[in-house]
């Protein structure tokens, strides 16, 4: 036995309201352990507690009773004598009267009532006394949330565990329930309240009993909660989710049929809401309640229910086209939740009372007329989406009806099946024999309930001209289809595809069916069928490539060919063979004569190669042979047509050929690439581009170059352009290890071509310098050039010499000739364009270098800067005097291209120099370049006086910052922001720069949004706001205004004291923007204005 001193301190610690909750909990636990181990008897404890339980100090009394309650809760499993329980429950029942100390009494009663039978339970008489006391004294709704919850738990426990005790109380009980749950708003209490109603209703099922008289009142209280609308954003906060609540309410609704007269009208009424969630809930409740209420009670609502179901399913079906059905012409729908629930309801109702509903469904004139309207031939393309949705819904509706029982199935079929069969004959025309075969089976098994109801749906799908898809699944589901029949099916489908190409929907369906069949055969390794498939379908399609038959559009042909090819490797190889043949046959024709049809065909085939076939092989692990063959064929064709003069330039064909070439070469291995590049070089060297091949090229090149350039500028024939473009494509796609022969000649050739503005050559040069090995010892055995030598060759070329202070290496080689050349170039526009091309070319070369992180980029950058600074100084435009018109016209484009070169240097290109084309990419190369070029640009900007130079320098600056990752710049945001603002103010002077301004302002907005930039933004807040206000009215480009206003909006988040001085200014500027001609700007302005207006008044902050 424990000594009184031991446990008294625990009691005191618990009752003392100044001790912390954890101390109190510890005391309860300590006492519970003593009691559980019989070191302390309950009697002794109660005697010790005596004063605490009866004192007039209500705080201490409530603590004392709560202690008793808590202990009883902990002792739920400890056996207690009946007498002890009786006296305890008697005491606690009495205490329910004492509202000041209620919680302990509630907790204690609950603990006692919940006890299991083997440890001693409260007698029914005592339970009745508790219930009476509860009804007499407890004003549930006037209590706090936790007490209410305890009350509800008590009531719930009484109803569940002591039904006999509460039963005699009848009316009074329900009065008390109504009073208790009325106006309850707490979700946790509500769940209990709903459950109480459910249990109580089940306790009194008698239609003339006490519940019946209170049903209306109780339902009035319950009905208000439907549909459950949750304003709590997170259900974790309250421990109850919306679904749980909704489920509890549903169970309460369905607890008794006595609710039917109130519930069904309410639910039907809520269906009129256009809120989808309300509809879904209503249907769910109806579907659940209907079987509970029983068919007799539901019968009188039949009409209303059918009309609401019809409304949702038929009148305004909300099914969405499923994603994959786009290609099917849109007959597969995903039903909305509402429709799903409505169908579940319908299914339930059908099972309950199928006759009544079937009468209504089959007798419904709308539905009948609708079906009749589809029994004549019609075309899916002319059918609006809504009709198709309706068709789908009606199909589902009838399928559900037919499924419910055999009798209803028969009735549905008697009504519609004969008509549909008749209609089928027209709607699927030439396929009717097979279709009928299927139908015959269906008919013969008509009384087989499963099969027929399964077919009910498909037969309705038939009215939607989906017969062919059934055919596609035909070989699958009816496995033992004879080979002959299979052949027949394929033939039918092929002939349908051949003739039906103008009907997009059925054509797509038929093709899909074929593809499905192909995949099925491939998946199940049916060699016989595979052979048949290849013979009938693949070979047939392949034969289309080069023939004019059938007369369907080429794109459809290619689609059919590719999709069937993708069913398996053997089919794909057949198709590739066919396509190779077609290219061989038509390429010369297309490329030499410009024969329109051949050109189109070859373009399509090449596109097909680059977009579908080559990626497919890569994905499915095919060999590189296909890629290699394609490249070889093209080069053969080019080579063989050397004698012909091309008259029509067809850039589209060239483009397709280049893409295909790049795609093919990049997938080849190093050896194949070497073969291709050598083959290509032979063609190249045989072309007229090479007068050099006879001359001692390597030694005398630099001397002859000038004259050589002049000669060749205007004299590139079409065939040469083809050859060099394709050669450039090959070079672009090479792997770094691949060795290129005669590199020096190739380089010279590309340089020559790029001066004529031939971009692929420039890109190829860039790719070359990007991939060449950097050190001699790393080189391939016979590699004659490393990157250093290549750069030497490139940079010593005289085409860059127009820039007087050329910083490129070895420019001194050209000595005096340089100046002569320079004056010449400034004199004529023709030369300006050459120089622009040269700058663009140099930019691509620079891009190659920059990506591998080569030092050479410095010289190139200096060249660009040189052009930017040189020309104005040289051209002498002081700000005061008017620039000479002619000069300005020449110089500005040149400077612009030099500025834009920075864009080429840093931006990512899809055509070349990316991972796909095996580029060497050094990590963080953009950041490195940014760090090295920024000081140069800044110092140049500071030094220059001319407006044009400054604006061009800022243009370069803008390109650099907009292409560099933000994370590289944000650490220096403090320095960057003033520059950004300077550049914005300079660039706004000329419309020419508007795109660049947009890029700059995007960078600015990114800095504003970045946490790390906040300090810098704060320091420059005034200047930024002023600049943004100016841009908010920028007249030439809407997105600039929009972004500027967005940025202004973001600025309003800054600390109040910083931005308050600008508030009036901003608001004035923004009110002007409210009148902007563009809506997007106006909307931003409204938001921004709201943000700025609210910083000054507290009432607007929410």
């Amino acid at each position: 036995m424990a000594k009184p001193t031991e446990y008294v301190k625990h009691i005191e610690s618990y009752v003392d309201s100044s001790s912390s909750p954890s101390q109190q909990a510890a005391s309860v636990d300590a006492l519970a352990i003593l009691l559980r181990n019989d070191l302390l008897t309950l009697e002794a404890l109660v005697r010790e507690l005596d004063l605490y339980l009866t004192t007039t100090d209500s705080i201490i009394r409530s603590r004392g009773i709560l202690l008793l309650g808590e202990l009883l809760t902990q002792l739920e499993l400890k056996p207690l004598s009946d007498a002890a329980i009786h006296s305890l429950i008697g005491f606690l029942t009495e205490r329910l009267e004492d509202w000041r100390a209620l919680r302990g009494a509630l907790v204690g009663c609950l603990a006692l009532l919940r006890r299991k039978t083997d440890v001693g339970v409260v007698t029914e008489n005592d339970a009745e006394a508790v219930m009476k006391s509860y009804m007499q004294y407890l004003q549930v709704q006037s209590m706090g949330q936790h007490d209410r919850k305890l009350c509800f738990e008590l009531l719930e426990c009484l109803l569940e565990r002591y039904p006999n005790a509460v039963q005699p109380l009848g009316n009074e009980l329900f009065y008390s329930i109504c009073e208790g749950i009325d106006e309850e708003k707490d979700p946790q209490c509500l769940i209990l309240a709903f459950h109480i109603v459910e249990v109580a209703a089940k306790l009194f099922p008698d239609p003339s009993g006490p519940f019946a008289s209170y049903a209306a009142d109780i339902f009035e209280i319950l009905g208000r909660y439907f549909p459950i609308h949750f304003t709590h954003p997170k259900s974790e906060d309250i421990g109850v989710s919306r679904d749980e609540l909704s489920r509890a309410l549903l169970l309460a609704f369905a607890a008794t049929p006595l609710f039917e007269p109130f519930a069904i009208p309410l639910l039907l009424d809520k269906l009129s809401s256009s809120l989808p969630s309300a509809k879904v809930e209503s249907f769910k409740y109806l579907g659940y309640c209907a079987p509970m209420y029983g068919s007799d009670r539901m019968a009188k609502h039949g009409g209303a229910l059918w009309s609401s179901v019809k409304d949702v399913l038929y009148t305004s079906p909300e099914s969405a086209l499923s994603v994959e059905s786009e290609s099917d012409g849109g007959m597969i729908f995903e039903e909305s939740d509402i429709m799903v629930e409505a169908l579940i309801l319908l299914e339930g109702l059908m099972q309950q009372n199928s006759d009544l509903l079937l009468d209504m469904i089959l007798g419904d004139e709308d539905i009948n007329n609708f079906i009749c309207s589809f029994l004549k031939p019609w075309d899916i393309h002319d059918t609006p989406l809504q009709l198709r949705q309706q068709l789908h819904s009606v199909g589902r509706l009838l399928a559900v009806s037919a499924k419910s029982s055999m009798a209803s199935c028969n009735r549905v079929f008697e009504k519609f099946f004969p008509q549909m069969m008749e209609a089928l004959g027209c709607s699927v025309g030439n396929h009717s024999d097979e279709s009928f075969a299927t139908e015959d089976r269906a008919l013969s098994s008509r009384f087989n309930y499963e099969a027929v109801s399964g077919n009910a749906q498909s037969s309705f799908a038939y009215t939607g001209v989906k017969g062919l898809q059934l055919l596609a699944t035909f070989p699958r589901s009816f496995a033992p289809v004879s080979l002959l029949l299979f052949e027949n099916i394929l033939l039918k489908l092929v002939s349908a595809i051949t003739s039906n190409f103008d009907k997009k929907f059925s054509w797509g369906l038929e093709l899909k069916a074929l593809v499905e069949i192909g995949l099925y055969i491939e998946g199940y390794q049916e060699s016989e069928k595979a052979a048949t498939f290849a013979r009938i379908v693949v070979d047939k399609f392949v034969s289309w490539i080069s023939s004019d038959e059938p007369a369907m559009p080429l794109s459809l042909k290619m689609q059919a060919i590719c999709e069937t090819g993708m069913t398996g490797i053997s089919n794909m190889l057949r198709i590739v063979q066919g396509m190779e043949k077609a290219i061989s046959a038509k390429f010369t024709q297309a490329y030499v004569d410009g024969n329109f049809e051949s050109v189109e065909l070859v373009i399509k085939v090449l596109e097909c190669y680059s977009a579908r076939v080559l990626p497919w092989f890569e994905m499915n692990g095919g060999s590189e042979e296909v890629a290699w063959n394609l490249a070889a064929i093209i080069w053969d064709k080019i080579d063989n047509s050397s004698s012909v003069n091309l008259t029509v330039q067809n850039y589209e064909l060239l483009g397709a050929a280049m893409t295909a070439m790049k795609q093919a070469v990049r997938r080849c291995s190093q050896e194949s690439q070497e073969k291709i590049v050598n083959r290509a070089f032979r063609v190249l060297s045989a072309s007229t581009l090479f007068p050099l091949k006879d001359s001692p090229f390597a030694t005398s090149l630099s001397n002859s170059e000038d004259s050589y350039l002049n000669h060749h500028v205007d004299r590139v024939s079409c065939r040469d352009e083809w050859i060099i473009s394709l050669y450039a494509s090959v070079v672009i796609a090479l792997r770094p290890q691949t060795h290129v022969q005669n590199l020096k000649m190739v380089l010279q050739l590309f340089i020559m071509a790029l001066t004529k503005g031939h971009i692929p050559s420039a890109q190829a040069l860039g790719s070359l310098v990007n991939k060449l090995p950097s050190k001699t010892n790393e080189r391939h055995l016979s590699q004659e050039y490393g990157v250093e030598e290549a750069i030497d060759v490139i940079l010593t070329s005289s085409i860059w010499n127009f820039c007087q202070s050329n910083t490129l290496r070895k420019c001194s080689l050209f000595g005096g000739g340089n100046e002569i050349h320079n004056t010449k170039c400034l004199a004529g526009l023709n030369h300006t364009s050459v120089h622009i091309s040269a700058i663009v070319g140099l930019a691509w070369i620079g891009k190659g270098l920059i990506m591998r992180g080569h030092e050479g980029i410095k010289d190139i950058t200096m060249t660009f800067l040189g052009v930017l600074l040189e020309n104005t100084n040289n051209g002498d435009f002081p700000e005061s005097c008017d620039p000479i018109e002619g000069k300005e016209q020449e110089v500005i484009p040149l400077m612009k291209s030099a500025a834009d070169a920075f864009h080429i240097l840093l931006s990512d290109s899809e055509d070349c120099l990316n991972r796909n084309y095996h580029s060497v990419i050094r990590p963080l190369y953009k950041q490195r370049f940014y760090n090295s070029v920024m000081p140069l640009l800044l110092s140049s900007t500071r030094q220059s006086n001319s407006i044009i130079t400054r604006s061009m320098l800022f243009r370069s600056f803008a390109h650099v910052i907009s292409e560099t990752p933000l994370s590289a710049m944000i650490s220096e945001a403090n320095k960057l922001i003033p520059l950004l603002l300077d550049s914005l103010s300079t660039l706004t002077e000329d419309v020419m720069h508007k795109d660049v301004i947009y890029n700059v302002i995007l960078v600015l907005s990114a800095i504003l949004m970045d946490k790390n930039g906040q300090v810098a933004v704060l320091e420059n807040a005034q200047a930024i706001i002023n600049q943004l206000i100016g841009l908010a009215a920028y007249p030439h480009m809407m997105v600039i205004r929009e972004t500027a206003i967005q940025c202004l909006g973001a600025m309003s988040e800054l600390p109040y004291a910083r931005i308050y001085p600008s508030r009036t200014k901003v608001l004035q500027a923004i009110s002007k923007a409210l009148d902007d001609p563009k809506r997007a700007v106006r909307q931003e302005a409204v938001r921004c204005r709201q943000a700025w207006a609210s910083i000054a008044s507290r009432s607007l902050h929410f």
Partner: protein
């Protein structure tokens, strides 16, 4: 039933999906149209319930007309019940919102739909009387109610 709510259980409608406008001609000006105005006012909260005016069908795109040349906007709204004393508050909210969203040269007329309110004429007169609107917004209680409706985050 809670006392004091004028319409305790209104029928709630679905919010219509915000359809992205098709990309307009980038060079033409976008005229102010009813949809634009509707977009601004549809999310104003009802003074009584945590629903937007759109959800309670108080407003619709069709009930707004606009003439950009004359700079006039006319909004007709339908209170949920005939004797709704909140009609004037809704009107005030609309007026306040449009004042924020459009330049001052637009003249805004706000009316209740004909036959939708017991005191139609009085309400219309009150809503379009500058002095009374200004006076109403001076009243701190009304002001607070209006701002709550306009910038509520309950929806």
């Amino acid at each position: 039933m809670t006392l004091g709510l004028i319409n305790a259980n209104p029928v709630v409608h679905a919010k219509k999906e915000r359809v992205a406008r098709p990309l307009d001609d980038p060079h033409a000006d976008d005229a102010v149209d009813p949809l634009e105005i509707y977009d601004y006012v549809r999310d104003i909260r009802d003074p009584e319930h945590p629903y937007s005016l759109e959800q309670l069908s108080v407003l619709s795109e069709e009930s707004i007309t606009v003439d950009e040349k004359l700079g006039r906007i006319l909004i007709t709204f339908t209170p949920t019940i005939q004797h709704c004393s909140m009609a004037t508050v809704i009107g005030l909210c609309l007026r306040e919102k449009l004042k924020d969203c459009f330049p001052a040269h637009f003249k805004v007329d706000i009316k209740v739909a004909p036959g939708s309110h017991a005191d139609e004429e009085a309400v219309n007169k009150q809503l379009n009387d500058k002095e009374r609107v200004a006076a109403a917004l001076e009243n701190p209680n009304l002001r607070q109610l209006v701002t709550e409706c306009l910038y509520s985050s309950e929806l």
